[in-house]
């Protein structure tokens, strides 16, 4: 009598440690073999795109932080680049370099999180803590640069919020030494570890053709041997002036994806180091004068000493650092129709005050000419695209985000079916699913 093989259903997630609380896999299993997979997404849907239509152009930036929340600075840059393309704005060079520096720092944090979390899910808890410790050094730097660890909101239409602190390059280079050490330690613990390689080699394999057909980009695609990197294929900002390699794999399995990410972290750090060598100076020294507390400054303005005001700089809060006149020209575009004037000008001159109000008042603000633009940047997971449509209004008509991790998620059944339950963990980990960006 033939033995009847029966399959059974296993519901994995959303309350499952490997599913990050936001993904549900409905698995059909035959023993420990996966027969079919049904991926359910949408547990973190926040209507980012719809919400963006109700915000002014600049006010969308904080919502982009919440897309890929382990590399928010890349999202900030990507969105602003799309708006600037539509508005025809040119960012000063220092601003462009700052965007590249912040993006690459974010890419390192992104890959550290991905590799660390995948390793932890495979039982290598120590590696996770080493890498998260390294990420912490970078988060502290990002905190110094932007005023926040995760919700950075660093870019503005036309530039960036603030210049970097004076000792930032030294601090970054010191932190990189620690990050490199953590990566080296993890590399020793994992890359030649037979247990680890047995788990990741040959699992979650996707062919080059399939990866392209699914629209997969980023480290996931590069692991199959396709050297597609937006930074190289369609250079934006100042990437065409920088020297970096695009690491590729060959087999398209979890191990190659791990190796690609490990190599990319080194490349990103190299990029930041080059940026520090190339970055043009700010305009700190141009108008050095006495600093005055903001409230004193304001009082002077009220009492009519406006001519004197030009001689002083307002000492403003850390979060308003971008308000200082001296450095603004280097990091923000000079276009008054899109860039808030310096606080000194707002308090010190009627033109500045009017300019300020014209940008801040309800239904005034930045007016982006009608049309549409698509800009893609290389996010942590691949091609992160923003398609913005303007009707000439002070807020977007439509913002569409192309989340890079949606596409490997769509290919997930193909990657998982036929494998073991245990293979779901490294494969899903290497997708680097970030629900904020996936579900938007």
């Amino acid at each position: 009598m033939p033995i009847e093989k029966k399959t059974y259903m296993l519901n994995m997630g959303p309350q499952h440690p490997a599913m990050h609380g936001v993904i549900r896999l409905v698995l059909e299993l035959e023993g420990e073999r996966v027969v079919s997979t049904d991926v359910e997404i949408g547990y973190l849907h926040r209507a980012f795109e719809k919400h963006a239509e109700t915000e002014t152009w600049n006010n969308v930036v904080p919502w982009t932080d919440r897309l890929n929340y382990v590399s928010p600075l890349i999202n900030n840059s990507g969105y602003c680049l799309a708006v600037e393309k539509l508005a025809g704005l040119v960012i000063p060079e220092r601003g462009q370099y700052l965007r590249v520096i912040s993006s690459e720092l974010s890419r390192v944090t992104d890959h550290l999180t991905c590799v660390g979390a995948s390793a932890m899910e495979l039982g290598a808890f120590t590696v996770f803590l080493y890498l998260i410790k390294a990420r912490e050094y970078l988060y502290q730097l990002i905190d110094e640069l932007t005023g926040a660890r995760v919700t950075t909101s660093y870019t503005r239409v036309g530039g960036v919020k603030a210049d970097m602190p004076a000792d930032f390059p030294q601090k970054v280079l010191a932190a990189f030494a620690l990050v490199r050490e953590a990566i080296r330690d993890s590399d020793k613990l994992l890359t030649k570890n037979r247990i680890f390689t047995d788990r990741v080699e040959g699992t979650g394999v996707i062919s080059r053709e399939d990866a392209l057909a699914y629209g997969i980009t980023g480290p996931f695609l590069r692991s199959t041997g396709v050297p597609y990197d937006v930074r190289r294929a369609h250079p934006y900002l100042v990437y065409d002036r920088l020297d970096f390699e695009v690491p590729v794999g060959s087999k398209g399995d979890n191990f190659d994806r791990y190796l690609v990410r490990m190599a990319e972290m080194e490349q990103s750090m190299r990029l930041v180091e080059q940026c520090f060598r190339q970055i043009p100076g700010g305009k700190h020294s141009l108008e050095v004068s006495e600093m005055k507390d903001a409230f004193l400054y304001q009082d002077m303005g009220k009492s009519g000493d406006t001519a004197l005001l030009k001689l002083y700089r307002a000492k403003v809060d850390q979060t308003l650092r971008g308000g200082q006149r001296g450095e603004r020209g280097a990091i923000l575009s000079a276009e008054p129709a899109s860039t808030l004037p310096a606080k000194e000008d707002v308090y010190g001159s009627i033109e500045g005050l009017m300019n300020h109000f014209e940008l801040i008042m309800w239904s005034w603000g930045i007016k982006v000419p009608p049309g549409e633009a698509y800009v893609a940047v290389e996010g942590g997971n691949g091609e992160l695209g923003f398609h913005v449509v303007s009707s000439g209004d002070d807020r977007p008509y439509r913002v569409r985000c192309r989340p890079p991790c949606l596409f490997p998620m769509a290919a997930l059944p193909k990657l998982l079916n036929g494998g073991w339950i245990a293979d779901i963990i490294p494969t899903f980990g290497s997708v680097n699913m970030i629900a904020g960006e996936l579900d938007r």
């Binding site: 420990e32 495979l122 039982g123 808890f125 803590l129 047995d198 339950i421 245990a422």
Partner: protein, 349 residues
């Protein structure tokens, strides 16, 4: 006769107490050890009157929390089996402890006192049998939970245990052959001799391959990383997925006690047991030193097992079985055959 029985009962009770307390202490040790190797502080918040004693009170807090939690049985589960499973696991593993020779026989107050709780001439198979019986609790837990995750964990545990207890026994066969006994106390005494007049004839010296094989198989039997596939916290969460409170903690304690048993076997069979090389232990002081030496060696082996746990990632389920059947078992058999021939040729010489 009655005195002897009372003494045995006292010793067994002490061994169980030692096991339970040691498990709590191990939980603390593991927290601190992993914290040190991962560059963090470790649990240190539980304090009594402001004294946190390096986090030692966290174990008490854990136990209190475990005891006061709701005794929850999943509605699709089987309540009696659900309650019985952790008791079976814990009971069998605790029993193993009492067969370990914590010390030799000392002459105090005109009498001979054996420091081994249960003296048996077949102590080794006894410990191995009871160690493997514990898996029934695990399988029962998975079955009684009425959850596919629990069931998978239970089945994995059963398969792993069956594979590795074979390896465990075969890897020890060579030792038993050399020592010429299955009595753990006799095995310790055999290791008291000196090779060439200076090298203690510990198991690790005469059977180095068996030591490594037993270490691997023993780590697998304790179901701890890298062999924690029945648990696999990020895959199937484990056979205890539907357990909470003290019943859950009982499984955790079982894991710790199994570690102690495996470490105790390693100390007994490979590291000279309670003996201190080149020193003859007699009298009351000798008895105390025996216990101290045994505990110190035990602690070292446990630290080694912990370091392995916090260094290596987890195997995949099928790879664990491959490793057991295709690598460790053939090597253990080879080791046994080589040992037998070696010993025979030595005697014929």
């Amino acid at each position: 006769m009655i005195g002897q029985t009372v003494w045995t009962a006292v010793k067994v009770a002490l061994a169980l107490g030692f096991g339970m307390n040691m498990a709590g202490l191990l939980a603390w040790l593991e927290r601190k050890q992993s914290a040190i190797s991962q560059d963090r502080i470790g649990a240190n918040r539980a304090a009594i009157l402001g004294v946190s004693a390096w986090g030692l009170f966290n174990q008490i807090a854990d136990a209190l929390k475990g005891l006061t939690k709701e005794n929850w049985v999943p509605p699709q589960g089987r309540p009696r089996l659900h309650a019985l499973a952790p008791a079976i696991s814990l009971g069998f593993s605790l029993f193993c402890l009492s067969a370990l020779p914590f010390g030799g026989v000392v002459h105090v107050a005109g009498r001979l006192w054996s420091l081994q709780p249960l003296e048996s001439s077949f102590g080794l198979p006894l410990v191995l049998c009871f160690l493997s019986l514990g898996v029934h609790g695990v399988v029962m837990a998975g079955y009684a939970s009425g959850s596919n995750y629990g069931l998978l964990g239970g089945l994995r545990a059963a398969a792993q245990m069956i594979s590795y207890e074979v390896c465990l026994a075969v890897s020890l066969a060579g030792c038993a052959f050399i020592y010429g006994t299955l009595d753990l106390q006799q095995a310790v005494l055999w290791q008291g001799r000196l090779l060439g007049g200076w090298l203690p004839a510990w198991g690790i010296v005469v059977q180095p391959a068996a030591f490594l094989l037993f270490l691997a198989a023993g780590a697998a039997v304790t179901k701890r990383a890298p062999f924690d596939v029945p648990e696999g916290e990020s895959e199937i969460v484990g056979y205890f997925v539907e357990y909470s409170g003290m019943k859950f903690l009982m499984f955790l304690i079982t894991d710790f006690i199994e570690s102690i048993v495996i470490a105790g076997l390693i100390v007994t069979l490979f590291l000279g047991g309670w003996q201190i090389p080149w020193v003859t232990l007699t009298g009351a002081l000798g008895g105390v030193l025996m216990l101290a030496a045994f505990s110190a060696k035990l602690l070292l082996v446990l630290l080694l097992l912990m370091q392995i746990r916090w260094t290596l990632p987890r195997f995949r389920f099928d790879q664990v079985l491959d490793l057991g059947w295709k690598n460790i078992l053939p090597l253990a058999m080879l080791n046994f055959i080589v040992t037998v021939w070696g010993v025979l040729l030595w005697r014929l010489r």
